[in-house]
């Protein structure tokens, strides 16, 4: 599985569990999975797959 451009070990489960177990705050992020966008209310319904490519994004300072 790829997460934010890096290869990580796949662990089966939902996107929500992945975020919680890997130190992301699900309330503050949006996830792009294989090009599709998932908002926080959808995280629990997404089952991860070994070939998934995730981008986990959040707001930061910017002009």
């Amino acid at each position: 599985m790829h997460v934010n451009g890096k290869e990580v070990a796949f662990s089966s489960g939902t996107l929500l569990t992945f975020l919680e177990q890997n130190g992301y705050n699900p309330a503050h992020v949006v996830v792009e999975r294989n090009g599709d966008i998932f908002a926080r209310e959808q995280f629990a319904a997404v089952a991860l797959a070994p070939e998934d490519d995730l981008n986990i994004l959040h707001f930061m300072g910017g002009g």
Partner: protein, 257 residues
């Protein structure tokens, strides 16, 4: 008299849009409060693991968030970033910012028009950052932009109103709010742009690089308010040459000089 700025589906009494880059998180809070900003821009980036603080916790309640598409190099990427930002639940505003030029950071106007067409059709309130160009601004109007955001000078330069005459052309010809973005370095420059009819001012670096950013945010708020009031009051005329006395043209005690 109520003088509000209508942008997209919202109305604002402050005409100061604050950029949140280059600040520590606690400083953003102080600067936003001192500047009375009702709109703050943000960027979207990959999150790191490990309980990092959330910038949204440092933005005063009630402030409208304006995600930008910084990092986008094409219309397609800007659209992708805008959709991701909206999924974070911060509303429909997006500031489109598309750049390929790493030296001067000048916006890609043509790509910006394309992204505006797509995002406006999806219900976004689109604030496109552009080099001030009248045909491009007209295309943005047709595309459904909520405003146009011409640059005053290169981003982060604090050089002031280098493009003054071209911004004035947009103000004169485009029936959308014209928000001066990028390059404004001093409150006096913000004031001048407001005097000649800008709808709002966006500033970030000028505040972030000041010795006392919170105090500078307050100075900008006052200058923007002063410039707006001057615009509404109607500036006095300029004589092409010569002088016109403000006092009676008589001698102090006797008629005749």
């Amino acid at each position: 008299m109520s003088d509000t700025l209508r942008l997209g589906k919202k109305e604002f009494t402050s005409r100061f849009i604050l950029g949140s880059g280059k600040f520590s998180l606690p400083l953003i809070q102080a600067v936003a409060q001192h500047g009375g900003a009702q709109m703050i821009t943000l960027a979207l980036r990959r999150a790191n693991t490990g309980g990092q603080e959330n910038i949204l916790d440092y933005i005063p309640r009630g402030v409208t968030l304006i995600p930008n598409t910084s990092g986008a190099r094409s219309a397609e990427e800007a659209v992708r970033i805008a959709r991701l930002a909206r999924a974070l639940g911060c509303g429909d505003f997006v500031k489109i910012e598309i750049m390929r030029d790493a030296k001067y950071l000048l916006p890609e106007n043509a790509e910006t028009v394309k992204a505006t067409e797509i995002l406006a059709a999806e219900g976004f309130d689109v604030l496109p950052y552009i080099s001030p160009d009248l045909p491009v601004a007209r295309a943005l109007l047709r595309a459904g932009a909520a405003a146009v955001m011409p640059l005053a000078a290169p981003i982060g330069s604090n050089k002031g109103l280098i493009t003054r005459d071209f911004i004035q052309i947009l103000i004169s010809e485009i029936p959308l709010p014209v928000i001066v973005d990028a390059g404004i370095g001093r409150p006096s420059q913000a004031c001048e742009a407001m005097e000649f009819g800008a709808a709002a001012i966006m500033a970030n670096t000028a505040v972030a690089t000041a010795a006392d950013p919170a105090a500078m945010a307050h100075a900008f708020a006052l200058a923007i308010e002063a410039g707006r009031r001057a615009y509404l009051a109607g500036l006095g005329r300029v004589l092409p040459q010569g002088a016109e006395a403000s006092s009676p043209l008589t001698g102090f005690l006797e008629d005749g000089a």
